[in-house]
């Protein structure tokens, strides 16, 4: 029964594909679930951070003496309190972002922190810290930041392939593609050249970052926090604090949304430093303003497109130059943007060039399909405009150029079986496509792509003496993954879903697990869960063989029980999981299955979105009238939560397209650090979000599962822009399409 990591053509699912109740449901509807800020410890202090009011400033000195002298203050830390340890560049950036060193690089950059007996004392102490700043010129917009004479944030951070003479804030260059762009454009009947812009948006998870740290004088430390990856927190904090990884135990709380924004640390190393200095547990909880000012939004972008098309809709060449500013440190997601821009299409001539740019803004963090939505906004808008300019059906044009099995993608891979064409055909046949539209209304479509990740994954599956099952996994459950793991284990073992309970391990209880990101969990942890279940089944077959006194090769596992099989096995009554578990002590001891893998074969994902909007010509306001998501899930393990991912991604995209933006003043200070002015979609803004789940099996997973979480945010920006452009009668190339912007576009034509 060796694991066949390939799709095994299984179709007769009993548990997978059903809509069971999630195991954490009751905790979450009763308020019992414990999120980041819900933990306490005896003797706990409150930690608070002092943040830079300047967009860019040299920190000449910090005087903490008055704060330290305040009654009730037990520790004050600055960068000087972090140990001098050797860090790789990426981890150094994380530390510098958590606590500024020589310079404050953006409005909201942490410069000092206090731990006090109460919140009110901590707030008073912050006001007593005196920071002597020397303000420096700053730069916010990506195109400004790239200029050779722009204020430089860092020295010596450019990678080698950045051409000489580029501004110091241009830190990396990426290039992908094949063929000959100029030759391809020469064959086109029509060539479009356009520049598209998107603003930085925040993941907007409702739960602010929170943690509780305890550092003992023996060097052992415990950290409770809301994170997408407790191992990432452990490894990063251990490096920064000079601890060995085994001495720092990190426990992930329930997580109140992340969308990529909790794939790094912000306050955790600070809480550890405060706890170490005070000798007491320290709890830190960010305010919403701190979340918006100092945690990672996504990049803002400026993208040039050149696209050629023949009269019959064949794309002859596609070129994109992408400029993303990712805040104060290198690492904008422009590489993913450059790789994904043309990924849905089978193109002979395609090239993308990406520029990673730093600016005086918070360090960007991953945001759901990082880098891809902006690139798709540009490419899918250009395809729409060209198709309509040639009098062609935009869905037909996409079908004509769609990537299929065997297509060599612009970023280099050759696709196995993929689902793009299926999403387009289903969209074309859907009643939404032909539904009538009224005055000032428009319909838009767009496609989207995401890579999907695999990665390091450990699962332990324990068979309990009473014949039930625990699955132990190491990835925080951000949208129902415990249900999915229990379902896959139940499917594999042939036991009811209710007999399996999945729990999330702390870092000391299971081997390394990569962060919950890249839509990897249902795929990779699912793969490891299936493998662990198969290992347990092998062991249980061995135990049954022992009881029956036959060769273990003559035992198979079917319908939840070991059964004799083959001509020489003899007649024996089947032994169920519970039967075998009950006598495990007498047949060799406890039964468990393990899987430790670096999962590959995640299987790329595609979607097509269709949206109807109405534009108010008087105000420029846009109303979403109807929205349908068509996406390939490979195999939907829990269809409710697959639909939920489709709907949630679409609505985050609606926010990005219509409302959300980081707005800076001339002084480089963020003007809208709150949910009143950084306005995410609310229930009354929206219709129901219809979904169509397609299932084109991923050849790299036994059940055909693909990740589904991220692709759904890739098409909406362009789908909505195409819809609004049709409704308003004018092409929108800049996000967000806020009422003033749309009104101005209508008025100026």
């Amino acid at each position: 029964m060796a694991l066949d990591a390939k799709m095994d053509g299984k179709l007769d699912f009993k548990v997978v594909g059903t809509r069971v109740n999630r195991p954490d449901g009751i905790d979450k509807v009763t308020g019992r679930a414990r999120f980041g800020a819900d933990m306490t410890a005896p003797g706990m202090l409150v930690g608070k951070v002092l943040r830079s009011p300047h967009a860019h400033a040299k920190i000449k000195s910090i005087d903490t003496s008055a704060a330290e002298a305040l009654e009730g203050v037990l520790a004050v830390v600055t960068r000087a309190d972090f140990p001098e340890v050797e860090l790789d560049e990426g981890t150094w950036d994380v530390l510098d972002n958590c606590m500024a060193g020589e310079k404050a690089l953006y409005d909201g950059h942490a410069v000092a922190a206090v731990a006090a007996a109460s919140e009110s004392v901590a707030k008073k102490a912050l006001k007593l810290i005196k920071v002597d700043y020397e303000p420096l010129p700053h730069v916010i917009a990506v195109d400004d930041a790239m200029k050779a004479d722009a204020p430089a944030l860092h020295d010596g951070r450019q990678v080698e392939n950045v051409p000489e003479g580029m501004g110091a804030n241009v830190v990396a260059r990426y290039e992908f593609g094949h063929g000959d762009i100029e030759a391809g454009l020469g064959k086109a009947d029509k060539v479009l050249e356009r520049t598209y812009k998107t603003e930085a948006t925040h993941q907007g998870y409702i739960e602010p970052h929170a943690c509780l740290a305890q550092v003992g004088s023996d060097g052992q430390a415990d950290l409770w926090c809301c994170t997408q990856g407790q191992y990432m927190v452990r490894d990063t904090c251990a490096a920064i604090m000079g601890l060995s990884q085994s001495r720092l135990k990190v426990t992930a709380s329930e997580i109140g949304g992340g969308f990529g924004g909790k794939t790094t640390v912000f306050i955790e190393p600070v809480a550890l430093a405060l706890s170490k200095k005070s000798g007491r547990p320290v709890k830190m909880v960010m305010s919403r303003s701190e979340v918006l000012r100092a945690t990672g939004p996504t990049a803002s972008s400026s993208i040039d497109i050149r696209l050629g098309m023949t009269e019959d809709g064949q794309i002859t060449a596609g070129f994109a130059e992408l400029r993303y500013q990712g805040g104060a440190y290198p690492g904008s997601p422009v590489e993913f943007g450059s790789m994904s821009a043309f990924a849905p299409y089978d193109l002979e001539n395609v090239k993308t060039v990406g520029w990673d740019v730093v600016a005086n803004r918070p360090k960007q963090a991953a945001y759901r399909a990082p880098g891809a939505p902006m690139a798709a906004f540009a490419v899918e808008s250009a395809i729409d405009e060209l198709a309509k300019g040639l009098g062609l059906d935009p869905l037909e044009v996409r079908l004509k150029n769609a990537a299929r099995e065997g297509t060599k993608a612009a970023y280099g891979v050759t696709y196995p079986a993929i689902g793009l064409e299926a999403t387009l055909r289903t969209a074309k046949d859907h009643p939404h496509w032909t539904a009538p539209l009224g005055e000032n209304q428009g319909r838009g479509v767009a496609c989207g792509f995401w890579f999907n990740f695999g990665g390091n994954t450990c699962v332990t599956l324990n068979v309990t003496p009473d014949g039930t099952v625990n699955v132990i996994e190491g990835n925080p459950d951000i949208g129902g993954s415990r249900a999915s793991m229990s379902m896959m284990a139940a499917e594999e073992l042939g036991v009811p879903y209710e007999r399996v309970r999945t729990v999330i391990a702390d870092t000391a209880s299971l081997g390394l697990n990569d962060v919950t990101d890249g839509s990897r969990v249902t795929f990779a942890v699912g793969l490891a869960t299936i493998e662990a279940a198969r290992a347990a089944k092998r062991e249980m077959c061995k135990r049954a063989a022992m009881v029956w006194g036959i060769d273990e090769e003559a035992v198979v596992w079917e319908d939840g029980a070991a059964r004799p099989s083959g001509p020489n096995a003899g007649k024996h009554d089947p032994m169920t999981l519970a039967d075998i578990a009950a006598i495990a002590s007498n047949t060799g001891g406890p039964i468990a299955g393990h899987s430790e893998i670096n999962a590959e074969g995640a299987g790329v994902s595609f979607a097509t979105h269709m949206v109807d909007t109405e534009v108010d010509p008087e105000s420029g306001a846009v109303k979403i009238l109807r929205y349908t998501v068509f996406q390939d899930a490979g195999k939907a393990v829990h269809p409710d939560y697959v639909e939920g991912q489709f709907q949630g991604g679409a609505v985050q995209g609606i926010g990005w397209a219509l409302n959300e933006a980081y707005i800076y003043g001339e002084d480089g200070v963020l003007q809208n650090p709150g949910f009143l002015d950084y306005r995410v979609p609310v229930a009354s803004d929206l219709p129901m979000i219809d979904t169509v789940i397609l299932e084109i099996p991923n050849p790299g997973h036994p059940y055909g599962v693909r990740g589904v979480g991220e692709t759904s945010i890739v098409p909406p920006l362009a789908a909505i822009a195409n819809s609004v452009s049709a409704a308003a009668g004018v092409r929108m190339t800049s996000l967000p399409m806020s009422p003033p912007k749309v009104l101005k576009a209508i008025q100026t034509g």
Binding site: R19, N21, R22, D24, G25, I26, D27, K28, V29, T30, G31, R32, A33, R34, F35, A37, D38, T40, E119, S120, Q203, G204, Y205, I206, E207, P208, E254, I255, G256, G257, G258, F259, V285, S287, R288, I478, G479, G480, H638, D640, Y641, E643, G644, Q647, G648, A650, V651, Q652, G674, F675, L676, V680, P681, V682, A683, S684, D685, L686, M688, I689
Partner: protein
Amino acid sequence: MSMIHVTTTINGVAQEYLCEADETLLDVLRDRLGMTGSKEGCGTGDCGACSVTVDDRLVCSCLMLGAEAEGRKVETIEGMAEGETLHPLQRKFIEHAALQCGICTPGILVAAKSLLEHNPNPTEEEARYWLAGNLCRCTGYDKIIRAVMAAAEEMREAS
């Protein structure tokens, strides 16, 4: 600092506490009484994660002082189920997968319960506008609205 003594009723139980003059009801619930079901998503009344009712009126507990609860009747998420019996809204939220991460869920449930007490037969639009003060970033609201409508229907049939 001198503390203020408050006598109030929370989820039907008489409760006394001391709080600072500038302390919010949300901080009192979470930090003094250990009732962490109400969440702080913004602290400025924009997200609704801290929703409670005070004398049957829906409020953001982050915008009300703990001292203002004197003599009032406060209801929180912790009081919604009766023992092990879930409120129909709680049950429908689980059945309809109306939560993903679950951080907004307590506030939305409290707000939805308040809606159905004021209007047992809301239209979808009325439900959407009533819940417009409760942000959810995971679900796109679709399954939340469906769960609220389904609970409303079940409660109407039962009454």
